[in-house]
């Protein structure tokens, strides 16, 4: 009897340890990013990071201002969101409320298939197909700019947005729709004025999660945005995102140099940004599901 009890306790303990690894990994991520980045605060100093110039390799004076990288990431993310959210929500409402059941069973898995295509393949597609199109349409020297990056990112965020929004739209109680229809509203009025507004928190959370994915995406943006570190508001300019900077420069950097530490600092900024996005999305989802 005693052996059985001990065995049961041991098994429970093993499971608990396994479950706790997630907590440890999160702590270790913060710890190790912080550890490699921290000395940057002492020399060259935190103010260096807030500068407007990112020139990591220079004969005169290097500068590690992350503002151009931050604005690059934000510009690409903003455009991608402006495209992906309306398209994604429209798709979700169509799949949930308008499409027949056979159509729905085909559409949703197919769109989710897009999420399974590796980002480097999407980036490759952007490089070979989309960039020349953007170049021709706008009459540019090169198709590698913020707009091309944003279009690809929108494409990558759409499955997340469609999938989660569709769940939210579908979970709106049937009685809401029935009440609306009984009051004489048409099917479309019901969709636009009752069902979609009722699902709004879920749709919002879906958009936040999609944005989180967009801002953290690396390979596709690195391949098509042109990677010029500059502060610009024009979608047709080349930009350099935070993710692309880390991926492109980490390979050539001298171990524990200022540049190396600056890249880890960029990583921390990125981590905090996505962390905030996700926590807000989860709060919204929880509130929505709880109510």
């Amino acid at each position: 009897m005693k052996i059985i009890v001990t065995k049961e306790k041991a098994i429970k303990l093993i499971m608990l340890i396994a479950a706790s690894t997630s907590v440890f990994i999160v702590l270790l991520i913060f710890l190790f990013l912080g550890k490699e980045a921290a000395p940057f605060i002492i020399k060259p100093g935190l103010s260096e990071l807030l500068g407007a110039r990112w020139v990591p390799v220079s004969f005169q004076k290097e500068s590690f201002g992350i503002l151009p990288l931050l604005t690059g990431s934000l510009l690409v993310t903003a455009i991608a969101t402006l495209i992906a959210v309306p398209v994604g929500v429209c798709g979700a409402v169509y799949i949930s409320e308008v499409a027949g059941s056979g159509e729905r069973n085909f559409l949703k898995p197919f769109i989710e298939l897009l999420a399974g295509i590796p980002s480097v393949v999407i980036g490759f597609f952007g490089l070979t197909v989309l960039a020349p199109v953007v170049k021709a349409v706008f009459g540019l020297q090169t198709g590698l700019n913020a707009l091309t990056g944003a279009l690809l990112l929108a494409l990558m965020a759409i499955p997340t947005i469609v999938s989660i929004s569709e769940d939210a739209v579908r979970s709106v109680p049937k009685s809401y729709k029935e009440a609306s229809l009984a009051l004489g509203a048409s099917r479309l009025e019901t969709i636009l004025r009752v069902t979609t507004p009722a699902a709004l928190p879920g749709v919002l959370a879906a958009s936040m999660l999609g944005m989180g994915r967009v801002i953290g995406e690396t390979m596709a943006v690195m391949m098509v945005t042109g990677n010029a570190a500059q502060i610009t508001a024009s979608p047709l300019d080349s930009v350099r995102t935070m993710t692309a900077t880390i991926a492109a420069e980490m390979g050539e950097v001298a171990f524990r140099s200022d540049h190396y530490r600056a890249l880890f600092s960029v990583g921390i900024v990125l981590l905090l940004l996505t962390f905030t996005f996700n926590i807000i999305a989860q709060k919204v989802l929880k509130k929505h599901n709880g109510a």
Binding site: I25, C90, L114, V121, T128, G216, T274
Partner: protein, 283 residues
């Protein structure tokens, strides 16, 4: 009457938007398959790259990706399943459980390049594994752990509560109940979800860029402490770093196709397993 045609236009616009997405997805896949198929040959699949990727094949990259995926499964699968079992069968409502859940959500949102930095800091440098299969697999395992936990938990939830209660009422212990009455019905679902996560790991580039991958290696790796070539990284270098990028287009398409087939193939296996077992158990 006017209202009716207005409705029709709105529906048509929504339908158009949705099918536009479908069309773009189909276009991407067809573009890769069509151009990639032309580059496929026995030599391409079984030979090493020559002239820095401009000729020869991608055999070492295929093998490298398989090594990384295998390593990732070996680490992430047991850990993820055990985590899900704890959360679903043992965890009480409380601060500890909330902390674990928050950690899993956080982990799911961490960008892949940040996982790369983390893997570089912890596995490559601090634990001194170097740029290696081991460091890459550990990094990828951290990346897909949340996917495995969430889908395993979902599989566990589909097992009716009455099965557990019946077993416990007959005097079985908690573990006996889980082992004999919960796991047999939930393992297929757990594996399905995990395979979907593994598909993602196979296609990831950013984490292995910093922890495992090399563009060209003269021979296959001998141990888990050796660096490897990998399909996604190979495609990235061929497409953006190669001095004659336009000339090696067929090689790029071929690599993209093999990678796509591998990832979609893994997902297809998962879907087939799920369908097979859905038919077997109906509650």
């Amino acid at each position: 009457m006017k209202k009716k045609s207005y409705e029709k236009i709105v529906y048509a616009a929504m339908r158009f938007t949705t099918y536009l997405i479908i069309l773009i997805i189909a276009y991407i896949i067809i573009e890769i398959v069509w151009n990639g198929a032309a580059a496929l040959s026995v030599e391409f699949l079984t030979d090493s790259p020559k002239q820095s990727g401009a000729a020869g094949g991608i055999f070492p990259a295929i093998i490298g990706t398989l090594y990384l995926v295998t390593g990732t499964i070996c680490i992430a699968l047991p850990l993820g399943m055990a985590s899900a079992l704890y959360l679903s069968e043992y965890a009480a409502v409380g601060r500890l459980t909330n902390t674990i859940r928050l950690a899993i959500i956080t982990l799911a949102g961490v960008p892949s390049i940040v996982f790369g930095l983390f893997g570089l800091g912890l596995f490559v440098i601090f634990l001194n594994f170097g740029t290696s299969i081991l460091a890459g697999s550990l990094t990828l395992a951290c990346l897909i752990l949340p996917t495995i936990i969430v889908s395993s938990e979902e599989a566990l939830r589909t097992v009716p509560q009455s099965l557990r209660e019946g077993s416990l009422a007959l005097g079985a212990t908690k573990w006996q109940t889980i082992y004999k009455n919960v796991l047999p019905y939930s393992v297929p679902g757990m594996i399905t979800g995990s395979i979907l996560g593994v598909g993602r790991a196979a296609g990831e580039t950013a984490p292995i860029l910093l922890t495992a991958a090399a563009f060209f290696l003269p021979k296959l790796p001998n141990s888990i402490f050796d660096p490897v070539m990998a399909l996604p990284y190979h495609l990235y270098v061929l497409a953006t770093q190669h001095p004659d990028a336009a000339k090696v287009r067929p090689m790029q398409y071929g690599t993209a196709l093999v990678l796509l087939l591998m990832v979609l193939g893994i997902n297809l296996v998962a879907i087939l397993i799920r369908r097979h077992f859905r038919k077997r158990y109906r509650w």
